[in-house]
Amino acid sequence: MLAVVVIGWQAIRTFDLAPELFVPAPGRVLERFLVFLVEPYQGYTLPVHLAITMARVLVAFALAAVTGIPLGLAAGMWGPVHVISEPIVNFIRPLPPLAYLALLLIWLGFGEPSKIALLYLAAVPPLIINTRAGVLNVRWELLGAARALGARDRQVFLHVVLPASLPFIFSGARISLAFTYTTVVAAELVATSSGMGFVTLIASEQLRSDTIFVGIIVMGVTGMLLDAIAARTERRFVPWIGRA
């Protein structure tokens, strides 16, 4: 598959089917990639830009997880929490992140906090919604069995509701992580001076298509790796998905 793409790509160059500026040769992109690994562009080398982007994603995702999961659990357990949180979540969720970025910049300034806040707002809705769905979908018999075995409310929550919700929590986390990653590039297009989104934007302004290609490929591969790691973590912690 990969070979087909690379051969097709090279063919475009060999037969000059598109201008060099639109589609640089694979060899040139590879060369640019190798150079960018060690030579700074826009202040940092490629690994540093990537690390900055990943740090933003992971910090925002971690903040979303430690707040969104408890909030989702609370919304699933107590109706009033849901009644209050639902309209807020439903309002934020469909908003394109860039729509509120301007406001966040005014409130939080041009530093990292506004970017993290933007990503946080993108990351948290799927976590809250899925975690609540997990609580509501716990099989009734699992709760009844625990109560008939003498478990108290707190124990039922810790030993049954929580683990039984894990499949939903994990799928919420995967959606959240993917969406945060998609959003980070958008966030880095405005008011930043580092990160993969920023690099790609500047490269396009300078018509450096080889760097744009490097940026896109690195972001694509990183996104795939991120989801693969999430999938492995899920299999490790909820091996019973689809089997029980």
């Binding site: 099989r139 018999e141 699992l142 009844g144 069995a145 625990a146 109560r147 008939a148 075995l149 003498g150 478990a151 108290r152 124990q155 030993h159 049954v160 683990p163 039984a164 894990l166 909820v238 091996p239 019973w240 089997r243 029980a244």
Partner: protein
Amino acid sequence: MTRTVDGSPLPAAGSGSRLVIEGVAYTYRGNGAPVEALRPIDLVFEPGEFICCIGPSGCGKTTLLQLLAGFLHPTSGRIMVDGRVVTSPGAERGVVFQQPALYPWLNVADNVTFGPRMRGAGRREAKELAEQYLRLVGLHDFGHRAPYELSGGMQQRAAIARVLANEPQIMLMDEPFGALDALTRENLQEELLSIWRATRRTVFFITHNAEEAVYLGTRVLVMSTRPGSVLADRQVRFGLQAAGDPRAVRASRAFIEVREELMDLVYRPDLETKWAEPSPGGDDADPALPANL
């Protein structure tokens, strides 16, 4: 003296709780029209009885079990265990569901010791209990497996072990073998009987299978179509036999007679009158016949 069908004496006197059902009725009130599931029912379960409950689908058997378990509260009347009114589920009333409700995030051994651990058992004690009860249900080699790696019959065994390990006074079982193949079901019936003979805890066992009810129970309740009420309440003796050949028992004339009479009642309740009359014989009836009380 009380005797079993084959004339052997009854096993040790029953232990477990005395359960009293006083005028218990239940009506479901959801969004739609109210559904009257149970008419007022009065029953007493004596310690050590093995009560089987049969009746047409939708007649309120599960509703009755959930009331006894404390998952539902009677619309009227009350349920008492050893003189105390039931208001919520409790460890003295163990429940086995039709689909084994094991926890997939725990291995089989941890599932079995769930109740004791919630009630404060230490690791040492839990390990011993797991060994003891897994052995009892023939799963001693499967403690470290995940529940979903076990067959349906083995899962139901584990669910029964989980309830037994909690040492309830009464076991409430809702069609526990209903989803199993015939052979597995017969094996589990024998195991359940031998466990019950050894412990003589009260069992309330729902089934839609008259043969199963007559074979296992010391007492069979037949329920009417919804709203459920008790059509017949009949003592039987087959399950008490300590070491009968199960196939011979099931094929015996006496067994078939009782089974057919109960089936008639389930499918043709117009024959009810036959049951209203006192049955001949009593505790000392001809041991070749099922004892009628």
